[in-house]
Symmetry: C2
DNA sequence: ATTTACCTTTACGTTAACGTAAAGGTGATT
DNA sequence: AATCACCTTTACGTTAACGTAAAGGTAAAT
């Protein structure tokens, strides 16, 4: 028997609320089976959810994540779109690298301020 | 004569709208002088604005940026305040370090997505 | 003196990603 | 039969970071 999941099982596993998972469905990022009225998530759905969360962690919007997910399923025809998306991914990566550089600079600056505030210097600088 | 800036001069220079700059003032991130009813920004204000934008680039909220700005300008008077400030700085630095770690993870994840998207054969299909 | 080009405040509108009730169905257990 | 513990849909609420329009003041140029 193939394993399936209820909405709250997935919610618990990934530390989300059921509302959040339904929201992803509202946005067409998931389309679980229905047993009667209830949602039943396949392991494929689970993987999709993981991909959604991964996309979120790197700062994509749900719409952008949907684009990516759709391209996973795109029959290898629409290469133009794939290439376009790859460019977006790379752009995002560069942005993150930029941010990291910026954070490193900020850490340096904080350390400089720290130095000026060292307790030893407390009486030197009024 | 010391150079000052009008709101639209700054807006133009940093590619913002005047509304945005006023918004930063609403949120107490800027407090320019007033000549009559109009705002006049000193070069210090300009630097603050640069810091705001820098904070934004690294993904901080305006509230967080305000915290940081306040740290920069806390009147260096009392020892207690300095020690408190030092603690906040260290906490902030740790936060930044965490952020950097997080960004590193994001970059890794992006590369994972790239790998999954990377069509096995971009050049075979038209 | 009127147009032009700024500036001002006030205040409602927008988007994203959910939160949070409200009101009710389902099915197993007590 | 009643209580749980889930599940469902509908729909209004929230936050951040502004956008945008209304209504008007100011100051220099035409």
């Amino acid at each position: 028997m193939i394993k399936t999941y209820s909405i709250s099982e997935l919610a618990k596993e990934f530390d989300l609320t059921s509302r959040t998972i339904r929201h992803y469905e509202d946005k067409s990022l998931l389309e679980p089976e229905r047993i009667g009225t209830q949602r039943r998530y396949s392991s494929g759905d689970r993987v999709r959810l993981q991909l959604i969360l991964r996309g979120k962690r790197v700062g994509f919007s749900l719409d952008e994540i949907k684009e990516i997910l759709d391209l996973y399923q795109t029959p290898s025809g629409k290469q133009k779109q794939k290439i376009f998306l790859l460019q977006k991914l790379i752009a995002r990566k560069n942005q993150l690298i930029d941010q990291r550089t910026c954070i490193n600079e900020m850490i340096d600056e904080l350390e400089q301020i720290e130095l000026r505030l060292q307790p030893d210097n407390l009486d030197i600088y009024p």
